[in-house]
């Protein structure tokens, strides 16, 4: 009887472990799920950037179009920045200013600068390559974040040229939504922090339509992104991502 009890206990523990193992995704598959949920072949939306910094509040409105990782086009529509446009094409960023009525290439050395006073740099805004192609992932635990049970993923950059050599991601256990992430320098210093505020079901995915990002080097600063009229993976004319469209 005693032997039977031990055997039964071991069996239960083994079965439970197998069950847990089956429910614990691999870091690689989890990162792929995050990519599948957040990355797109094409997207268009209208957006709002709310920048709060040192007690001041700036609101910028814009229309955005993007295709893959290479092409994106943003036109600001709020009165102070009306007709300011950005084009990312072949990894380069161009800006059209209605004041100078001319297109200017934003040099590589300026890409770390804050874009329109937000907590995002130009570099952040032009990056849409899949995380799974740029980082190796390791599952480091689980934690409750924003009222949801999340897996924690530690990412390490494959290339040394990556702007953020390390990232930490909180991914929901139920539908693999990215609830939060932190971006780190090589030294381990935390540089930026992202939190999901609201997501919306678009097609088969839960897409983030309101989020907050903080540049921790800018004390007391936060930027909220709101997306409306989001259309994902519908054809966008190639002419949208052209110098011609920027000059118009």
């Amino acid at each position: 009887m005693k032997k039977f009890n031990i055997l039964a206990s071991v069996t239960v523990i083994l079965l439970f472990s197998i069950l847990i193992a089956q429910n614990t995704p691999t870091a690689k598959s989890l990162l792929k799920s995050v990519d599948d949920n957040e990355r797109y072949d094409s997207i268009k939306y209208t957006g709002e950037i709310i920048i709060e910094y040192k007690g001041k509040r700036f609101v910028k409105e814009f229309k955005a179009f993007a295709k893959g990782n290479e092409n994106s086009f943003i036109e600001f529509t709020n009165s102070e920045d009306r007709e300011t446009k950005y084009l990312k094409k072949d990894g380069r960023l161009y800006v059209y200013s209605p004041d100078t009525e001319q297109v200017m290439l934003i040099s590589g050395h300026m890409l770390k600068e804050s874009m329109m006073g937000s907590d995002l740099s130009y570099e952040d805004t032009i990056e849409n390559e899949r995380l799974s192609k740029r980082y190796t992932a390791e599952l480091s635990g689980s934690e409750k974040t924003g009222g949801k049970d999340c897996w924690i993923l530690d990412l390490t950059a494959i290339k040394k040229t990556e702007s953020y050599p390390k990232q930490k991601l909180w991914v929901t256990k139920d539908n693999h939504e990215l609830m939060k992430y932190e971006l780190f320098a090589l030294s381990g210093a935390k540089l930026k922090e992202y939190k999901l505020i609201r997501s919306k079901k678009i097609g088969n995915r839960m897409f983030p339509v309101e989020s907050e990002i903080r540049d921790l080097l800018r004390k007391g600063s936060r930027t909220v992104f709101k997306l409306d009229n989001v259309v994902i993976d519908k054809p966008i004319p190639a002419s949208t991502f052209s110098m011609r469209n920027l000059e118009r």
Binding site: K56, F58, L105, S107, G108, A238
Partner: protein, 410 residues
């Protein structure tokens, strides 16, 4: 002394339309466009900037003086059907200066229409036709040239038309024609029709532009047209590099490089983009003065410095810059997202006069920008009692200038 006012700056490089009737017609046209919105695919969009500014000068010709100005740049853009766009902009101002009456002015800045085709765009009217990727100096921007002494000024329009072809991705070919009127030129009363073609190519490593243009003779009696060839290149290799050149040939046997204007510059930023640095050299072959000349050769008298700039008569011609070698240095430091300080120095490398100005900008809330600019012309006369220089206090007409402005965008 009325150099600080926005319109007064504009007068240096373009045409003012003083007739009140003209302005009424422009405003009426804008109102009509607004009221006939049924033909427009979208409501017209109005935007612009309203600025209050005041400037004080210390001058060698009458002590302190001042002027104050209320300025507005009002722009309108209206889509017509699916392929048409109408653009219009006016500058208006009310200004007052020491010992002068209140003065109101208005100027047509833009009035043109655009037709957008599948592969071809056509623009026609009073507009800006930009060329080149230069930084402070942009020699190839020959139709609406920027005055490097006033880099912040909006550029004057030109009456012209452009037809741009976009048959290949990353390439743009353009045919253009414009009246290149310039009040500085010797025969300022004439229009100066010019026509040409240009090509642009953008790759992931660089942007390149070439242009050729033919202009009606400067001297109508000569019968020899002026040829222009322009070339501009911008590339990025850790730092940003820009080359911008324009060569003009008027059929005269001028010295070899007289028709050449070439600017080469480099820019770089550090501290995550908070500190921007730019240095540019200009060879100005058009400059009337050679290294051995001094300003008395320009005015034909040693007594040129006895009268203020607006009363002097040049015996060689008028220009923004009279010599051949210049350096332009620009640095911008972002103290915060709302406050930045910039320092610009324009150096004449031949008489070693320089025009430094420091500008600070602050944005107390969204849409409002406060600006304080201090300009102090310096030359050898000021420092060592040597020669008076082109960018020095006597030639520019002031010892120092302090400008304060508050601008709102809408």
């Amino acid at each position: 002394m009325k150099q600080s006012g926005y319109l007064n700056r504009q007068k240096k490089s373009g045409q003012i339309i003083p007739e009140l009737l003209t302005i009424k017609i422009i405003l009426l046209a804008l109102v009509l466009l607004n009221s006939t919105a049924t033909i427009l695919s979208d409501e017209p969009v109005f935007s612009g900037i309203v600025e209050s500014n005041g400037t004080t000068y210390s001058t060698p010709y009458g002590g302190f003086t001042w002027n104050a100005e209320q300025f507005a740049n009002i722009r309108m853009k209206a889509a017509v059907g699916s392929r048409g766009v109408i653009h219009a902009a006016v500058n208006t101002s009310a200004s007052s200066a020491k010992e002068e009456e209140l003065h109101t002015d208005a100027e047509l800045e833009r009035l043109y229409m655009s037709i957008r085709g599948e592969k071809i765009d056509i623009d026609a009217g009073y507009m800006r036709i930009p060329f080149g990727y230069g930084q402070g100096f942009k020699p190839s921007d020959l139709i609406n040239p920027q005055n490097p002494l006033y880099p912040e000024a909006r550029l004057q329009g030109a009456l012209g038309t452009t037809i741009a072809f976009y048959h290949f991705e990353d390439y743009k070919y353009q045919i253009f024609a414009a009246d290149r009127k310039n009040p500085y030129q010797q025969y300022s009363g004439y229009s100066r029709p010019l026509a040409g073609l240009s090509g642009d190519y953008h790759s992931s490593l660089f942007s390149i532009q070439a242009l050729y243009a033919l202009q009606q003779p400067v001297d109508r009696g000569s019968g020899v047209p002026v040829h222009y060839g322009g070339f501009s290149l911008k590339f990025d290799a850790i730092a940003g590099f820009a080359l911008d050149t324009l060569y003009s040939h008027d059929g005269q046997n001028n010295p070899e490089y007289d028709g050449l204007q070439a600017a080469i510059g480099v820019d770089y930023s550090i501290l995550k983009g908070d500190l921007y640095l730019m240095l540019q050299y200009l060879y100005n072959g058009d400059g009337y003065l050679d290294n051995d000349d001094d300003l008395s050769d320009l005015y034909g008298t040693d007594q040129w410095d006895q009268s203020p700039p607006e009363e002097r008569v040049s015996v060689k011609g008028y220009s923004d810059l009279y010599r051949k070698h210049y350096l332009f240095f620009n640095t911008v430091y972002n103290i915060s997202d709302f406050t930045r300080v910039s320092g610009i120095v324009l150096l004449n490398m031949e008489d070693f006069s320089l025009l430094p100005f420091i500008k600070s900008e602050h944005e107390p809330f969204q849409g409002l920008t406060l600006n304080l600019t201090v300009r102090i012309p310096v030359d050898q006369w000021l420092l060592t009692d040597g020669d008076k220089g082109e960018l020095g206090p006597h030639h520019t007409g002031y010892n120092s200038a302090i400008l304060f402005s508050a601008a709102m965008k809408f």
